[in-house]
């Protein structure tokens, strides 16, 4: 399954609107100008996500995981490699980070950043689908990419797909790259993509 050019462009445009709002919240929180960019969106079978992400993130990652439920249900994750997470925390709080395992304050900051981003992303999808989704409390974990994605596969029988959204945080002359992974059932994904195409037609 692959995204068409039209679908990809429309998704990027939609996500950039949502992330614009998230960036504004982050700027307000931190007192620094924060920019969020979505350079690309790809789609993978859940089983293939680890392989494609392990090419860009070698070490353990900090992941913020929220489960969403409602007419459209699935998992939403923000993945940052640990140095990226520490750097983001330092940039946002102006204070040196310890290794994340020892720094609960840094984990909280990353959790809130992930919460804001995932809410923005899923809120955008909810709006376009005209459905209300509810969220679980975000959980932060420090694991390898493989272990995190493996946990998404267990106990789910239906074939699921993942939208992988590359996101770049730009603040204070630095850039931190992160990845949003939105895991959906085939039915949910189909519905989302149809709505996205409709939005695209109505806005052209």
């Amino acid at each position: 399954m692959e995204l068409t050019v039209v679908q990809q462009d429309a998704l990027i445009e939609l996500l950039n609107i949502g992330f614009g709002r998230a960036a504004a919240s982050l700027s307000q929180l931190t007192g620094h100008r924060v920019l969020l960019e979505v350079p690309s969106v790809t789609i993978h079978a859940v089983g293939d996500v680890a392989v494609s992400l392990e090419a860009v993130i070698q070490h353990d990652v900090a992941s913020v995981h929220q489960i969403f439920s409602g007419p459209v249900a699935g998992d939403a994750l923000l993945l940052l490699d640990q140095s990226g997470a520490s750097m983001l925390k330092e940039l946002l709080t102006n204070e040196p980070a310890l290794p994340l395992a020892f720094d609960a304050s840094a984990r909280e900051v990353i959790t809130e950043v992930g919460n804001i981003l995932l809410n923005a992303c899923l809120g955008t999808f909810g709006n376009i689908l005209h459905v209300q989704v509810t969220f679980s409390v975000p959980r932060l974990s420090l694991e390898s990419v493989g272990a995190i994605l493996e946990s998404l596969r267990v106990h789910r029988e239906s074939v699921r797909y993942a939208l992988v959204i590359h996101a770049g945080f730009k603040l204070r002359d630095a850039e931190v790259r992160g990845y949003l992974v939105i895991v959906l059932s085939v039915a949910s994904l189909d519905r989302l993509l149809r709505e996205v195409e409709g939005w695209e037609r109505n806005n052209r």
Partner: protein, 538 residues
Amino acid sequence: MNETEPRPDVFLATAARLWFEDMADRGIVVTDDALVIRAWNAWLVVHTGIAAVAAIGRPLFAVCPDIPARGLDVHYRRALDGEVRVLAHRFHRFLIPVIRSAVSGAAHEMLQTARIAPLSVDGRIVGTITIVEDVTERVVSERELRSQILVAERARAIAEDASQLKDDFLATLSHEIRTPLNAVMGWSRILRNKVDVKSRDHALDVIERNAAAQLRLVEDLLDMARVISGKLRLDVKAVDIRPLVQAAVDVVEPSAAAKHITIDISAGPDRRVVNADPDRLQQAIWNVMSNAVKFTPNGGRIDVRVTTKNRIVEVKVTDSGQGISPEFMPYLFDRFRQADGSPSRRHGGLGLGLALARQIMELHGGSISARSEGPDKGSEFCVRLPEADLLGQVALSPRSSANASTLVGIAVLLVDDSDDSREMLGIALQAYGADVTAVASTETSMEMLLGGNMPDVIVSDIGMPGSDGYELIRRVRALPLPATQLPAIAVTAYADAEHRLEALGAGYQMHMPKPVDPAIVAEAIKTLVTAARSAPKS
């Protein structure tokens, strides 16, 4: 199943209620979809002082007006739209204001992280739940940990720097040791093959010069090792610093001449007496001098000034060399430290000279300091020592130049109860031309002096039966002029510093430990008598 046994969810509901009301270690507030408070747990009652009956049934923002005042109400509106919100203390500090009293008694605001989530029943949002956690202690311990890590990292950086310095030093050391060896071995081989006189003399010159350089290097190293292990012992006596400065200058003179560097010494006509180990003091001054020569370019100039200010004797060495950069200044007197440690550096040496000079000066109770206006502006080194308290002391040059006519025309009164000692020194001093009167006791000496038989100098033993050498000199100093100014030397087996000070305090100008070298005694007599004769009679 027993009819009376409660259903499992009753257990759960009871447990949840107990936890909520009594056991939860965080604040829990539940509202309906109009944000009116429906539940307010015991933790909140304890920490906010607001009773559950006073909170329940009232709007959340009326009970906690701080939430809308700080713009945090948006999170509740989002929760009613189905979003979960987490609020990190780092961004928001707290959600519900609580003033804590710490053990120290100081009141401060509780730091909190909070979660705000929608409550939904059958897919419909009916309210919110907020959980507030006190993270104050955790934040304090994280801050502590962070600062400890910083301290540890700083310490590690310093240790790594020191270890790097040692590595650099070893590299420099092996280079500095090889360089003279290379010349020695090379010229030795040439000697083996060539036999003509001219090249043989040159070869021997080179070998000797390089061997001497090697020796200097090894001595510096050994001295530094002694300083580090606290084994460098000083043999302190009262010395005139001027000849030591001259001797140090003499050592560097050939290398200065090779670079056409002019060295100008001004030390004044007066003795500048300090308590010092003359060899070590000369070594310190020599190190400063050789540093000046090393860093002064061809045709440069070095001024050496010896002055006394406020009872401090100061040797100031000013050069027109490359100066010292402000960055290097704090490390100037550190061991192994060189401004340019690179392999391509222009100057040789181990980087020990100034460190040794500083250690030596500090062991003497003196100091060394440097000043420079910056690169290419020259530098100024200043060695300082307190002036010796005991007046009338005289310096000895380390090597004697006494000969058969040194003591001609000088009358010596030699006092020693030991026949062998008296005889040995008497004969020796006569050999230098002295007119020696040798007696065995203080009594005999005093009789002679009181009889008007006045020598030019007294040389006396200290440990004598009856009236000892201290007694003798006290009685001499109590006589009318000119005996009060009669030069006197104590020659004694009591060699330690304490006895030396006692002898000087009793009235001797000089103290020489046995066994003595008669040549040195002769030289000392000559110096003292010459000084006494040229001194104005008061």
